[in-house]
Structures are given as structure tokens and as C-alpha cells.
Amino acid sequence: MDRFSSYLEELRNNPDIPENLRGNIINEISGDMNDIFDLFINRGLSEKEAEKKVLEKYSLSDDLINEFVSIYRSPVKKIVRGIADQVKSLWGKLLLFVIISLILFSTGIELLNTEFYLNASIFIWPVLFIACFVFLISGIEFNNIFIKKNPDVERSKARLANIVLLGGLSFLTGIAGFCIELLFASKRGMIFDPVLSFLMAYTGPDSGSFMFNIDETIIKCAGLMMLSLFILIFYSFIWLIMNNQLAKIEYLIKHFDKNEHV
């Protein structure tokens, strides 16, 4: 370990910068700090004076680390952070809460109906399976963040990222199911193009014979899309709430070195 390594600890432990880049940045800055230290020694300063002068010249603040984070944060993280920043104000939070509550309430009532599942596409089951798995992760993290109030920040961050990713996966599964249902419906209509199949069903000369299948497909697809969208919005909302709380805990740990009374 070299003379200035300990001053770069905060940068070394920052998970928002990719690990390989972090190593390079630290090597670069510490290499330069050592060089300038040698330069001051050659100019006649004592080791203590030279070290003090180097540290004066290189005050590594949080702003510097944030600058690096903003340069190397992935585009997806940039978008997610942008959304999170947008809803930091009280009005932003309130508006988001009202909109999401309305969506979840109106969709949720429909999802409580047993008939919905009987009529829905077979693809709702993998979507529901993913949703149950995410529910389990969310429950564990809710317990760590809001009840125990003592999470392992890095592990919680990874789990919260998984909540969004799996929510997205359930949505993609829904879209894939939607496309497959349409494809099957179009095959039943002997036309391989789903768009043409729809047009034929409603405007073609034999539209009556296709009508039943198409109506059934529409109900299946609508149910599937509604469920997968519901899951995506629900877990995004859960992620947002837990992520904000985790950020507060992280701030307290970082600045006050304590993790109680959050």
C-alpha cells in the first residue's frame, strides 16, 4: 500500500463506478500524488511538508467522486436517477403517489376477480411466478430497511436493483406472451401476419368465422398486458420508496457513522 492509498479509500469503495475503472482512477491519482510528492522532496521540502502540500493540492471531496460517478454511470442508471431526482420534492412525491395509487387501485380491483385468471392467457403464470419471487425479495428488503432499519447497504442496493430488473422481466414476459398469442391467433386465421389477421377478422369477407378467436385473443392479451404492467408499476413504486429510504440510511452511515434512529 502506498503513501496516499488511504486518502483514496472513499473512491475505492464507491460502487457507482465500475470496479475496473475505479482501480484505474485510483492508480492514476495515487501515481500522480506520489510523483508530485517526489517533486516537492527534490525541491527541498521534508517528507512531512511534502505530504501536507500534496494533500492540500489534492483535496478529494464528495463532489469529485460525484463527478466521476456522473461520467461513468450507465445510461440506464442515469435515467433511473433522473426519475428519482424528479420526485424528491413534496409535490412530486404527492403527484406520483396519487397517480400510482389510482392505477394500482383501478387495475388491482380487476385482478382480484377470479374470472380474470380463468379467461387470461396461459402466459400470466410465468408473469405471476416472477411477481411472487420479487414479492419475496421485496419483503426481505422491507424488513431490513423499514423494520430492522439496519440493512447491509451494498447487498440491499443489489437486491433493489433486482426488484426493478425482475419487474421489467415480468413485463417483457407479458409482451412476449402477447406476441405469441397474436401469432397463434393469426395462424388460426391462416394468415401469418398478425396485423393483417386483425384487419381480415373485422373487415374481410369471412370476418364472422374469425370473430370468436380474435375476441378471445384480445381478452387474453389485454389481461396479460394489464397484469404485467400492473406488476411493473407496482414494483417500480416499491423500489422508489425503498431506494429513497436506503439512500437516507446510507447518508447517515457515511456522515455520522451510525445506523440507528433512521
Binding site: 502506498d2 510523483d35 489534492y58 463527478e67 466521476f68 461513468y72
Partner: protein
Amino acid sequence: MKKIKFDISNLAKNCHETLILAALCKKEKHGYEIALEIEERSKGNFKFNYGTLYPTLHKLEKKKFIKGEWEDKSVKRKRKFYLITEKGLEYFDQQKDAWKEFINSIVSIMGDCE
């Protein structure tokens, strides 16, 4: 040559970028050498936290205005130096003109008050 619009709202950022490119226009340098050169050539007028230099260097590298390369001068200490690219030189020329115009405008406005 394409003329760029001078972004006055990002004066400090522009200034940092242009000074770094100016320091690199003749010879490749390490991060601290760039900082030292700026300090010395400005006769101490531009004294800044050397730490702030690195994010700007990395931004310029990402935009491909400069290129960073590693040298292994000794086994235990790896060092990175930077050199300006063609794209960087072109951008620097544009910045130089924009800065000259900006400074002339300031001087002219101040001159009106004499």
C-alpha cells in the same frame, strides 16, 4: 472552420477544458504536469484543486478530445499520461476563437466605462 457558440453558463467548465487542451497541445503530459503547467504559465493566477482536474480529463477522454495511455516506468508504480487528438486540436481551435471573442467583448464593455 465551424464556429461554436460560447456557453457562458458553463464558464468554469469551459475554462478548465480549454486550459487542459492548451497544456497538452505541444506535448503529452501526466495529470499533475498539466496542473503544474497551468499554474506556472498563468504565473499563479490559476490555482486549483488538482483533484478536480481528473474528472475533466476523463470527460475529455470520453469525448475523444484527448487520449490517455499507461506507461510502466517502474514495476510498482503505473502512470497515465494524456495526449491531444486531432479531434481535440480542432475543438481547441474553436474554443480558442470563442474565448478570444468573449474576452474582447468583456474588454470592450469595460472600456466603455472609462
